[in-house]
Amino acid sequence: MTYITKPKLHHPSLRKNSVGLTRRDYEGRISTLCAGCGHDSISATIVQACYELAIEPHRVAKLSGIGCSSKAPTYFLGNSHGFNTVHGRMPSVLTGASLANRELIYMGVSGDGDSASIGLGQFAHVMRRGVNLVYIVMNNGVYGLTKGQFSATADKGSVAKKGAVNNDAGIDLASLAILMGATFVARSFSGDKHQLVPLIKAAINHPGAAILDVISPCVAFNNHKGSTRSYDYVREHNEALNRLDFITGRDPIEAEYDPGSSVAIEQPDGSTIRLAKIAADYDPSDKAAALAHIQEKERDGEVATGLLYLDARPRDLHANLRTVRAPLNSLDEPDLCPGSAVLKEINAGLR
């Protein structure tokens, strides 16, 4: 592991946002992920979104589980407190943190192994509780840190680098989140910052459980050969594609495409994923239609992207618990301790 201190010097001409910070003030440490990792692109979009929203970085708490994705919070918002928790259990820690201080912005960063495999239970329950958070899944369908095992979002029929075939059905976290009661459900691609930055900004402003399932190619281990979304399959349908911006080697994969269109993304190992962006007139408020849309695209061999479902007026966990406006961690003895006189009454009632 290398830890290179980033120079703190900023170019004086860097633009400042309304709280007087430049984009650089939202950065973190230098990434130790593989060069070209989609996760770094996502980190960059988080930086961009927070800068554009002029959020004070220390008002954000970043929480993650374990895995490549969960290392990412070190690489953005260096002036925010971060918490790298245990594998698959970030949602509960974030829930507790949110209960303690409702005034901060909670960003949960996780991966497909962390959220869909070991952490599926907590993923589901944090959504159904309506915790006010931005839950970002950096989804590459593979275990990177342990070198290439399948995760639960891997396509059925995928072949791993070492030749193993995945016979288990893949979990679609976006559909699951909708079913579990998340009130903001979006999917995007790490290389599409034009789609991702506005989605992250919207998710931060959403006063409820917001999840972004971000497809993020693994440059080291992702191998979808033989998958239903194979390269050959997509090449045959090439004319349907809107635009493809694909760079080989170890540069980040980028993709920009228009609403209502789809794009084939070639992954580092030659496999391909097809993304279909929702159209401008898509109505995200209809839960049943959102689920149907995801299913239809999947049937057609595509992955639906964009803001898939939105309940614009959610009730979050604090609303359900009717907690006071002041953060619970700021309350003091007069607010919390009933005192000795009350205790005398309680004693009297116990005789």
Binding site: G82, N84, T85, P91, N329, N347
Partner: protein, 614 residues
């Protein structure tokens, strides 16, 4: 016929009922009425892991001397469950009493010659009075309380007062209960031979200002007073009533009078993994948080407990212990989670444990645990058990000093940071092993750090350097050493004369131990006693052991877990420590302890002085 037992204010009566028949409140009423007459009682629920239909028992020990441990043996059985009839009748001491519903005749061989049989046609009385089947069932329980009150000389006015308090504002309920009570009393007065029962309750003034409360409710109240604002839990016997009591006390005392808003959050999590995760998240973010659970929950929480230890996050875990391992005996009591809690987690860890003896200490220690967790930035366990948690126990009244302030520990504020104080999350500035922390959101540019379960250096940076790791682990040991002076100190009861023999015990063993020690002393057997109240063990524990040739270690588990800890933590020669182990799931009795200690002393040729000279 054997001589019938006679005793005033010193007997055990056991109620055998069917779970879900409404007997619990009638039995509690019975126990409470004796308490109101100024006579100490200690009731115990012996219940199945079941909601309705299985046998359940309620054992009430009446002890003018104030002994609250389980005595063992039954002087009177109130046999209301045909299914357990044979075992219930067999359990009564010779000369004891069998109280039963005589509506339906039973074969003569269902009875014992050496017991006094008292039949009351409870069903017949109910059927003649009530038409609603539910009422017939519920009032049958009150009717037997009425009949028993005549037999035992319990003041009916006291019971009627209790109805008045219990059903305050519901006059119809008071009236119907009083009526049922009188039905039972009248039938007994008219039909039972006066003097048939030699067991009597006589009013005394032996209760004083003591209160009667379950340990779980007491611990919950301690959390309210101690300033807990977040409770995350998952239902598990025998701890569920603790979180529920917390919610109910908070409902009463923690809502803003103007807005009605809550100054607390209770979340029933999806499992114990999530409940401890929430507690840790809240603790990390500066709120006082706790969870209550039992053995299997601890097993599930273990990974997170390691995180809280290593990343140094306050958390309070109240473990209402039950019989283990695995699902074990969910409705029976044990003290068998010491090792699982003291060393929870992979890797090297040590955790602070507190051992309350009764509801009063459940209250005190729960509040103290919240302070300790913040001060030490680590998980703190309150190790209660089913015997304390789920039974009403007479204890000293709760006390609170209004000048007391929450100890929030070493939290560096925005002002501290602004003033230029150096911040290193794991820097041992004060030499006590306890570092300073900052809370998220405190300062725009200073004090942010990354919390992680991986190794790190003093400034919370990821590090796999051996030197960083060792420095950190050594500091954690220093911190644990600091805890020694902060935790509740052991309580010593010295024998009347100097002795080479000692006994160590803790938690719910306390009332039986008190009784055993009194009886040993009465026998002229002198044993010094120390009640442990916490781990890490203060130095006084080691001194106590070394001051005696032989120390009995009394605990309610199979493997002598505390004894193991004495040898590993204090370097005590195991030969010096004699294990006294009770672990069948029932609460330990004075008789059991006496038997073990007398047997042990006899081995060393220690006999009572009187016997030696006679």
């Amino acid at each position: 016929m054997r001589q019938a037992l006679t005793a005033t204010n010193d007997f055990v009566i056991k109620f055998a009922n069917v779970n879900g028949s409404g007997s619990a409140s009638a039995n509690e009423l019975f126990a409470r009425s004796i308490l109101r007459m100024g006579v100490p009682v200690s009731p115990r629920n012996i219940f199945p892991s079941n909601i309705q239909g299985l046998p359940t028992w309620y054992e009430v020990r009446v002890s003018e001397d104030g002994y609250l441990g389980r005595r063992g043996g039954i002087d009177m059985i109130v046999a209301m469950n045909p299914e357990t009839w044979a075992q219930d009748v067999a359990e009564v001491a010779p000369g004891g009493y069998l109280f039963y519903d005589s509506t339906r005749p039973l074969a003569p061989n269902a009875f014992r010659d050496d017991l006094t049989t008292i039949g009351v046609p409870l069903t017949a009385i109910c059927n003649a009075t009530y038409s609603d089947p539910r009422q017939r069932q519920l009032f049958k329980n009150i009717i037997y309380v009425g009949a028993l009150s005549v037999l035992l000389d319990i003041d009916s006015a006291v019971i009627e007062t209790l109805f008045g308090e219990q059903y305050k504002g519901k006059e119809a309920l008071i009236e119907s209960n009083v009526q049922a009570l009188r039905l039972g009393r009248e039938w007994a007065a008219d039909n039972l031979e006066p003097g048939i029962c030699g067991l009597k309750v006589a009013a005394r003034d032996k209760v004083g200002d003591r209160i009667f409360v379950e340990g779980n409710a007491a611990a919950a109240l301690g959390c309210v007073y101690g300033g807990a604002t977040v409770c995350a839990w998952y239902p598990i016997t025998p701890s569920s009533s603790l979180a529920e009591a917390f919610a109910s006390y908070c409902k009463r005392y923690r809502h803003d009078p103007d807005t009605g808003e809550a100054r607390y959050a209770v979340v029933q999590a999806e499992d114990e993994l999530a409940s401890i995760g929430m507690v840790i998240g809240a603790g990390w973010n500066g709120a006082r948080a706790f969870t209550s659970t039992s053995g299997p929950g601890i097993s599930l929480m273990t990974e997170f407990i390691g995180l809280a230890y290593f990343a140094e996050i306050p958390a309070v875990i109240i473990n209402v212990q039950r019989g283990g391992p695995s699902t074990g005996m969910p409705t029976r009591t044990q003290q068998a989670d010491l090792l699982a809690c003291a060393y929870a987690s992979n890797g090297d860890t040590k955790h602070v444990l507190l051992f309350p003896e009764d509801p009063k200490e459940c209250f005190d220690f729960s509040a103290a645990a919240l302070d300790l967790a913040d001060r030490l930035q680590t998980p703190v366990f309150v190790m209660t058990d089913l015997d304390i948690g789920m039974n009403h126990r007479m204890c000293r009244p709760f006390e609170w000093d209004d000048t007391r302030r929450m100890d929030r520990g070493k939290v560096m504020t925005a002002e501290d940071l602004e003033a230029g104080r150096e911040f290193g999350r794991y820097l041992d500035v004060d030499g006590d092993g306890i570092p300073y922390r900052t809370l998220p959101g405190s300062h725009p540019s200073k004090g942010a750090f990354f919390t992680r379960g991986t190794t790190k250096n003093r400034y919370a940076r990821y590090s796999e350097e051996g030197a960083d790791y060792i420095e950190n682990m050594e500091r954690l040991l220093r911190k644990f050493d600091t805890a020694k002076a902060l935790v509740p100190q052991p309580a010593v009861r010295a024998a009347a004369k100097p002795t080479r023999y000692g006994v160590l015990y803790f938690g719910s063993t306390s009332p039986s131990m008190t009784e055993a020690l009194d009886r040993l002393e009465a026998d002229g057997l002198h044993v010094d006693a120390m009640r442990l109240r916490a781990f890490p063990f203060p130095d006084a524990v080691r001194d106590f052991i070394l001051a005696h040739d032989t120390v009995f270690v009394v605990e309610q588990n199979r493997d002598g877990q505390l004894r193991n800890m004495m040898t590993t933590e204090l370097g005590i020669d195991p030969a010096r420590l004699v294990a006294v182990l009770h672990y069948d799931g029932t609460p330990i009795t004075a008789n059991f302890i006496l038997g073990a200690i007398r047997g042990g002393l006899a081995q060393y040729q220690i006999v009572p002085l009187e016997r030696a000279v006679s």
